[in-house]
């Protein structure tokens, strides 16, 4: 199997790290240590490098170590088709307060987007435990992070859609305040509708793929897999990608735009489009957010994360690195064991932080490497 793994990682002036290099092993890598020593920052660095931006920071300016104006994350990645060296650097211009970003692949400058997909990752932060119950934003983000790593075209459409949305919103505000040009609005809507329709179809297809893998994963976790349902909900109605295509999505967005134009202009924001879509999670045909117990919801979240892993393996032909931030301690013994068993079986690399590494000692069948994180330094422990 083509397992992708991070062999070494360097953090320079990143968050609370001055300059640190760590070498990870295959299988399970457990980062222990007291709170606020930099465990989560280490995982954030991996995510920032592999996704070209931090999925956690509100602004890239937050990534710099205190007083620093340049930071860097580098990794040596092992792939069956040959090693790859990835690097991302952020620079802060104190005069303009602008954060610049540059990326390298194998030492050569490349557009930042080319970092994505070389070492795919599946992220699991503590917030994700509420994925079923919380608002739609997290569920959309899950889809977008997977799509961006697997499909450069979908990533380009997402980017185009966000830009068209920003421009459209700016125009809406101008129209609300009595300025702006209605004919310019129509011009941006052509882009908005086309990119939006393509995003919608790509996401809806991904939801179907994830369901395919989440059902057996939920069974493995002791849940009722067959009862699980996932629907992509667009504009208040289920969008089925087996019957709907880009043309249909385009005309649906266009119709809704017509219907809500007056309301949008009055409020000065875009109320229609994939930035308002959702993934409906069902258990036995009922919304899991109300019908499922907290334990069942956690099992569903775990199943979704395992489905991400399985889908990336099947589609990209390379296994992702699984990143678990302080999640294991939140799970009961049964779920923890089945998660780790599944992971061990698949042979993928896992980077995990925990306040209680001792709980993971003696875990059978898995190669485990322990690390101690202390005040921005990290060292292996035996």
């Amino acid at each position: 199997m083509n397992a992708c793994r991070i062999e070494s990682l360097r953090l320079y002036e990143f968050r609370n790290y001055a300059d640190t290099t760590v070498e990870f092993g295959p299988g399970l890598n457990v980062m222990g240590g007291r709170n606020a020593q930099g465990k989560t920052n280490l995982l954030e660095a991996v995510a920032t490098l592999t996704l070209s931006r931090s999925p956690r920071a509100a602004s890239s300016a937050d990534l710099f170590r205190w007083g620093s104006t340049a930071c860097l994350v580098e990794a040596h990645v092992h792939r069956l088709d040959g090693p790859a060296d990835l690097g991302v650097r952020f620079t802060y211009d104190t005069a303009t307060r602008h954060v610049g970003r540059s990326a390298t692949v194998n030492g050569k400058p490349r557009p930042a987007r080319s970092l994505l997909g070389i070492c795919p990752v599946v992220l699991f932060w503590p917030d994700d435990l509420l994925l079923v119950k919380a608002g739609p934003e997290g569920r959309r983000r899950l889809l977008d992070v997977v799509l961006s790593q697997l499909d450069p075209r979908a990533m380009a459409e997402l980017h185009r859609y966000r830009r068209a949305l920003e421009q459209r919103n700016a125009l809406m505000r101008q129209l609300r305040d009595g300025g702006g040009s209605l004919s310019a609005l129509a011009s941006f809507e052509a882009e908005f509708i086309d990119a939006g329709a393509r995003v919608r179809v790509a996401r809806a297809r991904l939801v179907q793929d994830l369901l395919h893998w989440a059902v057996p994963a939920l069974v493995q976790l002791g849940g009722d897999g067959e009862a699980l349902g996932l629907n992509y909900v667009a504009g208040g109605a289920v969008f089925d990608p087996t019957t709907g295509d880009v043309d249909q999505a385009r005309s649906a967005i266009s119709t809704r735009l017509q219907a809500r134009r007056a309301e949008e202009v009055a409020r000065g924001i875009s109320l229609v489009g994939p930035h308002r879509d959702d993934v409906e999670v069902l258990l036995a045909g009922r919304p899991a957010r109300t019908a499922a117990s907290q334990g069942q919801q956690r099992s569903i979240v775990l199943a979704l994360k395992l489905a991400e892993v399985a889908h990336i393996r099947a589609t990209a032909d390379v296994s992702p690195v699984l990143i678990l931030d302080d999640v294991l301690s939140e799970l009961d013994e049964t779920r923890r064991q089945s998660l780790l068993a599944t992971v061990a079986e698949s042979g993928i690399q896992v980077l995990v932080t925990t306040a209680e590494p001792a709980a993971l000692h003696g875990l059978g069948g898995t190669e485990i490497h322990f690390f101690e994180v202390d005040a921005g330094s990290i060292r292996p422990v035996r």
Partner: protein
């Protein structure tokens, strides 16, 4: 204590405002001006000073010119029935290098971008209307960039020009010439497929 004399600081700051020049390069350029032979520096200063006095937008197409009409507009061999609409003056140079286009240009002076407060009124659309009103132009080629703002501007122009009996065309998106299909990125290949034509 400030080590660097104020005059050099001032020059560096001005250089740093130029596109593509960061603070380090700006400082290097400023120090270079100090070390270079005085004649070189005088020539640079003269060239900068003369630029704004001598060069102005062409009164017809808004490309850069030293006379009332630019070199393209005043060339009688150019075909006045074809008009190519571009975002900025540099785009004219790119198309001229191709040698493919023998008509006239119109420089919009930007693209629609509500975020930056640029709407139709900030572009040279009145001048464009006036030129088209003369009735000579048969085809308008829209050559804005293939990004969100460029596409929206192209849509806007197409709507605005509809019903005037003009042929409105848009530059094709596609594979770079001389490049191998296998080295093109997915997005470019997809666009090339969408824009394929029958032979």
């Amino acid at each position: 204590m400030n080590l660097i004399p104020v005059a050099i600081e001032r020059l560096s700051a001005e250089y740093a405002r130029l596109p593509g020049i960061g603070p380090k390069t700006a400082q290097r350029l400023a120090f270079h001006c100090m070390a270079a032979p005085p004649d070189d520096v005088t020539r640079l200063a003269d060239a900068l000073y003369a630029l704004r006095g001598v060069v102005r937008p062409c009164s017809q197409c808004l490309f850069l010119s030293e006379a009332d009409l630019c070199a393209v507009c005043s060339n009688p061999r150019r075909d006045p029935t074809q008009l190519c609409v571009v975002e900025e003056a540099l785009d004219v140079l790119a198309i001229e290098r191709s040698g493919e286009f023998g008509g006239l240009y119109h420089v919009l002076g930007g693209v629609l971008s509500p975020i930056d407060g640029i709407g139709p009124n900030q572009l040279s659309l009145d001048q464009l209307d006036n030129r088209l009103g003369a009735g000579t132009v048969v085809e308008v080629v829209i050559a804005t960039d293939p990004d969100v703002e460029g596409e929206a501007t192209a849509h806007y122009l197409a709507d605005r020009l509809a019903g005037r009996g003009l042929t409105v065309t848009r530059l094709a998106h596609g594979l770079p010439a001389g490049a191998d299909l296998q080295y093109a990125d997915e997005v470019t290949v997809a666009r090339a497929f969408q824009g394929r034509r029958s032979l």
